[in-house]
Amino acid sequence: MKFDNIIIGGGLSGLTCGIKLAEQGKKCAIVSSGQSAIHFFSGSFDLLGKIDGQDVKNPLEAIKILPDTHPYQRVGIENISRLVVEAPRLLDRAGLNFFGKADENHFVLTPMGIMKPTWLTIDDFTRFEQNDAFPWKKAVILNFSGFLDFHTLFVQDGLKKYNVDTQIKNFAMKEFEAIRRNPSEMRSTNIAKVFDSGDALDEFAQKVNQLSEGFEVVLLPAVFGLFTKNVALNLKAKVNKPVVLLPAIPPSVPGIRSQILLRKRFEELGGTYFLGDIVEQGTFKNNRLVAVQTNNHGDIKLEADQFVLASGSFYSKGIVATREKLYEPILGLDIDGDTDSEKWLDEKFFNDQPYMHYGVKTDSGFHALKNGKPIENLFVAGSVLGGANALKEGSGAGISLLTSLHVAEQILK
């Protein structure tokens, strides 16, 4: 089966790369063994949040002092400045409205009640300009009775720092009785499905209006709009006070909606998305990858002119570490990291852990290396790349988005 481009991995980087290629008329396929890390997404895409433990104000400036081996440096500052403008536009065309600036981080309120710097935030959530103040003095934190994935006490505790007077209220609605009977199913996605399908939203908004009387702002878990767009916006329009949504414990409702809309956009552009299939191995010829073999398609190999590896990091098994070795499991590519397992961990748990920087090694053009030689038509993008501790520095989605768009540009050249 022949395509122009095949992308291994259907997460944020695979999908945005695929969308960009398909927008330029390429016949693309994405193979993804399962749903991706977007399902855990907080609602914000980080570009660069912290350097040496300090909040970053202007990510575009701060990127310049990152080590040369960092993926941003390898994409190049000029390219980055251009791609940070392009990324939110591409998301917008998929129906995902993100707001924020690359030269000035804004802040979002985390479920721990802390203000965290970030780059792009989806319109469900509220963007704050300062991290040392909360714009309202009297807040009500509302939760659904029996919903355990939203920790109201943490939010309350966190808001004390900003001298906010808060009250927690739980409430019940008959629409949620059925899912409440089954405690393991009282989850954000199931609450969202109730709002998606029925007219529970009106009654809910009325309830919120009653309960928020005497308060300046309402805080709620982000459980609106799973398969349907605009539920969160509709809610905000119906409630007379400002509404601040906070992420609940994943899977994340806005995250799943993002995944669905990105996939839909890719497919509408003519892309083929193989979900639940695993790329098992590749056929190489003269430093080129000619075809990959998957579990479902077996002897019918998938061929392409260019391939992109966007298989994620440890969590998605793009990289695997066993007790003895660290490896890239699909194509056996070279790894950027210590082969000596003694060096993987820093004994201090909260230190910058060396293994978090590990990933697939590439040359300066993001070509994968195999036995030290670049594979001409195999590019690497997203969190499978080495060179950064995305968790520590707050750069996860930024690396995924910008390396994937950069790689797409290399392919389109």
């Binding site: 063994s33 899977p251 979900l275 077996g298």
Partner: protein, 419 residues
């Protein structure tokens, strides 16, 4: 590189230890969406398995609400075979004996043999309202269900009378696993398959004796009988694939999925020698075309607007691309993609009175999509999806092979390989 990927530390075959409790599977379970009494894939699958291994009293009869659609498995990022875990738990721990109704629904071939023999009598009877109400009351088969009609002449009979003798004229050969539906209810689909394969230069043969794949026996808890039939079929497939070097193709996605994956996973019946060469006809044809060994020529005047529905087992197999790619090769087809969703019937599941509401609720988003798509008809590879969609929408449903057979210019196609 293969094996290491998902199973470095596993001891079980179904990967339940790999579950990281991310709950992604629960988002995509169609039953959970409409029936909150179902504990859901995570709870019924890997979580429940841990408990059941300690004490089998943790087994919960609500597991039978699972459609076995495997959509949870497709979504799971960690390769947990959730659907298999649930089905195996039902097989191992369920104490409920299958009801008379379940036996009737499950024994598609025996019932089919009887019914097609008496088709002229059976069809009108099961269609009568009082009879349907009786079935509803006594047998708990929902009265909304319309039974598929039984054909007067079985496919096998037709094949022996009218097709068998010509098949040895060809140089290349395949065997055809037609399944119960083609044999008893819809021989036309089998005839269309013979037409296409002959046009492609292949002789079509029946297996020495095929038995029902057993999917309905498995889902209704008749495991011993299912295992017996599975062993029989694997032997029959071997005679074709190993002894005669003839691959086996089928037009039913569910039969082929059951034979390839459920035999080893649920019944413990090994199929290593036959698995790779047991496949769907559309995949077989696609491979020939893709590798340049076959060109199909289509009629110029064939014009239709068609929507393709991906059956759950096709989603799991990942094979709908073959059927849709073939359909898209027909120049006169205006192709509409549907979002892949379960139709809700899941074989005999939706026929049961207690499941009717869930079944229709699950299927509703699909029915709405088809209704609003303004197509001439829908296409799908699964016979039970076809019943469900035809019952629940105003559209007819055709098998991709039948559509190809209708649109194919046989003479022009044959000419290309004959010269």
């Amino acid at each position: 590189m293969k094996k290491e990927m998902f199973e470095p530390f596993n001891s079980s075959d179904n990967n339940f230890e790999q579950c990281v409790k991310c709950t992604i599977c629960t988002v995509y379970c169609p039953v959970l969406e409409v029936n909150p009494d179902y504990p859901g894939p995570k709870q019924s699958g890997p979580d429940g398995e841990r408990l059941r291994l300690k004490d089998q009293n943790f087994y919960d009869e609500s597991l039978k609400l699972c459609l076995n659609c495997k959509r949870c498995e497709v979504a799971c990022p960690h390769g947990v075979k959730i659907g298999d875990i649930i089905q195996l738990a039902r097989i191992k721990y369920s104490k409920k004996k299958p009801k008379v109704r379940d036996m009737i629904l499950a024994n598609t071939d025996i019932v089919g043999t009887m019914a097609s023999t008496f088709a002229p009598i059976v069809n009108p009877i099961v269609a009568l309202k009082p009879v349907r109400l009786m079935m509803d009351g006594v047998l708990k088969i929902d009265h909304h269900r319309i039974f598929p009609k039984y054909a007067g002449m079985r496919f096998e009979t037709w094949y022996r009378r009218y097709a068998a003798s010509k098949q040895n004229d060809f140089k290349k050969h395949v065997s055809y696993f037609h399944g119960c539906y083609v044999n008893y209810n819809f021989p036309k689909q089998g005839k269309d398959l013979v037409k296409i394969m002959n046009a492609a230069g292949y002789g079509v043969h029946l297996l020495e004796k095929e038995k029902c794949c057993g999917v309905a026996l498995i889902s209704n808890g008749l495991i011993n009988q299912a295992t017996k039939q599975a062993k029989h079929n694997v032997e029959a497939f071997k005679k074709s694939i190993v002894d005669k070097n003839m691959p086996v193709i089928s037009t039913s996605s569910t039969c082929i999925f059951t034979i390839r994956d459920e035999y080893p996973h649920l019944l413990g019946v090994k199929n290593d020698e036959i698995r790779n060469e047991s496949e769907l006809a559309t995949r077989f044809l696609f491979r020939l075309i893709d590798s340049g060994k076959l060109t199909l020529v289509f009629k110029k005047d064939y014009k239709k607007r068609i929507a393709y529905h991906t059956p759950c087992h096709m989603e799991k197999l990942g094979w709908s691309i073959y059927s849709t790619a073939l359909l898209k090769m027909i120049p006169g087809i205006d192709f509409v993609s549907l979002e892949s969703r379960c139709c809700g019937i899941a074989g005999t599941y939706g026929f049961k009175k207690e499941n009717y509401k869930t079944s229709q609720g699950v299927g509703k988003p699909l029915f709405d999509q088809i209704e609003s798509s303004d197509v001439d008809f829908a296409a799908t590879d699964c016979e039970t999806c076809k019943w469900q969609i035809e019952m629940s929408t105003t559209k007819k449903v055709e098998h991709p092979i039948s559509i190809l057979a209708e649109a194919l210019d046989v003479e022009a196609t044959v000419k290309l390989w004959q010269k």
